[in-house]
């Protein structure tokens, strides 16, 4: 975005810590502050869902079917008379859990595979790289749909599907970073003093490739939330009656003539939260991995 500053012009002493940079990046841009506020609200709502939701998200009421927004039901009710606001509030828990669990799991597995491939090279590297390249040829959503087609819905299956869809990306970044780190003199030094390979990897390789991995993890929280919503919308993610923002839209579409409010509400929330995590991810990337930002 901004023109990069010639490193030679930067004073050597003024290397700010990553934390200081992060603080500067967040508070310099109004958009990032907005994103941070949205994310904090989102986490609070998800954590305190039972206290915030005015009704039981699963409670049906024949008398209150397809009500437009009113004082009693701020976003109206669905075809079973369930309160939309309460369903949206509880649905946020799904998005929060999937948004964090899958990228973190994928980061761990992907880093492991990438470091192994990058550090040892040879046949292991060729096999891992080939499979990674192949999986990367698939858009994450399509990969997730195809795996979910085999596994079906349900909590752990969705976790597995999203994790598999994200792992190749982490593996590729981890492998490339490991290849670069392996050339560094400190690795040679560690080998020379007789440090065992697992120790070298854990103490000297992993910490030095952490920045791009952390950046990727934050950037993919938004993707994970959107992907979970897509899968639930397709009926192969979170299964009804449990509310998820995706399956609320699915229910809404089947009840299009009854009330458009579930669709409008749930979709607006997905958009807002994904937007916020995208902005935050950009900020983290600018702070930790300035070279990757454009």
């Amino acid at each position: 975005m901004t023109a990069s500053i010639d490193p030679a012009l930067q004073p050597l002493a003024a290397q700010p810590s990553a934390f200081a940079t992060l603080r500067r990046v967040i508070f310099d841009r109004p958009a990032t502050i907005f994103a941070l506020v949205v994310v904090i609200l989102f986490i609070l709502v998800a954590a305190l869902a039972p206290l915030i939701a005015p009704y039981d998200p699963l409670a049906q009421s024949i008398l209150d079917v397809n009500k437009p927004p009113s004082a009693a039901h701020p976003i109206g009710t669905d075809q079973f008379g369930r309160d939309i606001l309460s369903r949206l509030v509880f649905g946020s828990r799904n998005s929060l859990i999937f948004g964090f669990v899958s990228p973190v799991l994928a980061a761990i597995i992907g880093t492991f595979l990438g470091v192994i491939a990058g550090y040892f090279g040879g046949l292991v590297d060729r096999i891992i790289s080939r499979v990674i390249d192949l999986l990367l040829a698939f858009p994450e959503l399509l990969l997730a749909i195809l795996i979910a087609a085999v596994l079906g819905g349900g909590f752990w299956n969705v976790v597995a599907v999203l994790t598999v869809a994200f792992t190749p990306g982490f593996a590729r970044v981890a492998r490339a970073s490991t290849l670069a780190v392996k050339q560094e003199p400190y690795i040679e030094a560690a080998v020379a003093v007789g440090l065992r390979t697992p120790m070298i990897i854990l103490r000297h390789v992993v910490p030095n490739i952490a920045a791009p991995i952390v950046v990727l993890t934050t950037l993919w929280i938004a993707s994970a939330i959107r992907l979970e919503a897509s899968l639930s919308f397709l009926g192969i993610g979170t299964q009804p009656p449990n509310p998820s923002w995706g399956n609320i839209i699915r229910d809404g579409l089947n009840n299009l003539f009854g009330s458009p409010w579930p669709i409008i509400g749930a979709g607006a929330l997905i958009t807002l939260v994904v937007l916020a995590f995208n902005l935050l991810g950009d900020a983290v990337r600018d702070a930790l991995d300035p070279e990757a930002s454009r």
């Binding site: 080939r130 858009p139 979709g267 997905i270 807002l272 902005l279």
Partner: protein, 311 residues
């Protein structure tokens, strides 16, 4: 150049085999007993045994694998377990609708995104650039099925300008049916392509030959399109390939929103009905499509980048 094309084509063979192997592993090994996965927990042991026999699941694994690969390559996916119809026939019926939607959305996406990106790049840090940034932020955040549902509510339900569901009959009717779904996907593709165009063009416009072109008195449109955009085509080609791939994956949800026939709709209904044969056929065809699009993208580089043609 011939060498490059031949190498790429030959490279697709192991890729296809690897894809089929992964699909085989996923379908036969991951879910435990496919008979349970297909028939559900309440099927009797006799029903499961009949299913295994019918699907050839009693044969040794290597034999199953060979049969699977050969059948997939000859596009023989058997018959649907729900209605007994030929799976290949079902796919052949649905496929044109998906291809139509994918192509229409990529075309619309390019028509909207590229000019928008050029406009932003030629006005950096001014209003058009900010508009581009806002547009791409929204485009990256809004789920396609939500946008589709909103367009459906406004333009089909309230205004009645477009049909609510179906794929249409005859050319004009089909175009009428595909427009709104394609526009939905195109909006999101345009956000991506617009941003890509902006970045690529901004970089090119800073080069020496652009200054030369301006210095020799070339008019600005000529500078931008002839000297600028042409040299930004390489990243755009990659972007176009990615766009086609994501349009293909996006079509699944969009077909559901607009209740259109298509490969995604077929696959999703097959999952709901646990129609094992259709699921398997659908997955293989989707996977082969991804390989084909990637191959086409590699070959498109030949047209765009003369350096490949020479070497």
């Amino acid at each position: 150049m011939t060498r490059y094309i031949v190498v790429r084509l030959l490279d697709a063979i192991p890729t296809v085999l690897l894809v089929l192997t992964l699909v085989f592993i996923a379908m036969r090994i991951l879910p435990g007993d496919p008979a349970v996965a297909a028939l559900g927990d309440f099927a009797t042991p006799e029903q499961r045994e009949a299913f295994r026999e019918k699907m050839g699941l009693n044969a040794p694994l290597w034999q199953q694998y060979l049969t699977f690969v050969v059948n997939s390559l000859t596009l023989d996916f058997g018959a649907s377990m729900m209605n007994g119809r030929d799976v290949l026939g079902l796919i052949a019926y649905n496929l044109p609708y998906t291809i139509e939607l994918t192509i229409a959305s990529v075309l619309l996406g390019v028509l909207i995104g590229v000019p928008f990106g050029v406009w932003a790049a030629t006005n950096p840090n001014r209003a058009p650039d900010s508009a581009m940034r806002g547009f791409s932020l929204i485009g990256y955040a809004v789920p396609d099925f939500y946008l589709g549902a909103l367009l459906l509510i406004v333009f089909s339900l309230n205004l009645g300008w477009f049909p609510i569901n179906g794929g249409g009959e005859g050319f004009l009717d089909r175009m009428h049916h595909v427009f709104l779904p394609a526009l939905t996907l195109a909006f999101i593709k345009a956000a991506f392509l617009g941003r890509l165009t902006r970045t690529a063009l901004l970089e090119v416009l800073g080069r020496d030959y652009i200054r030369t072109a301006r210095a020799k008195g070339a008019r600005e449109p000529r500078v931008i399109y002839r000297h600028g955009l042409r040299n930004a085509l390489l990243p755009l080609t990659t972007g176009l390939g990615l766009t086609t791939l994501t349009a293909l994956s996006g079509s699944v949800a969009i077909e559901l929103v607009f209740n259109r026939p298509g490969l995604g709709k077929l696959l999703i209904s097959a999952i709901a009905e646990r129609d094992y044969a259709v699921i398997q056929g659908g997955i293989v065809v989707f996977a082969l499509f991804v390989v084909a699009i990637n191959l086409a993208m590699d070959l498109a580089y030949v047209l765009v980048d003369p350096r490949i043609r020479v070497s």
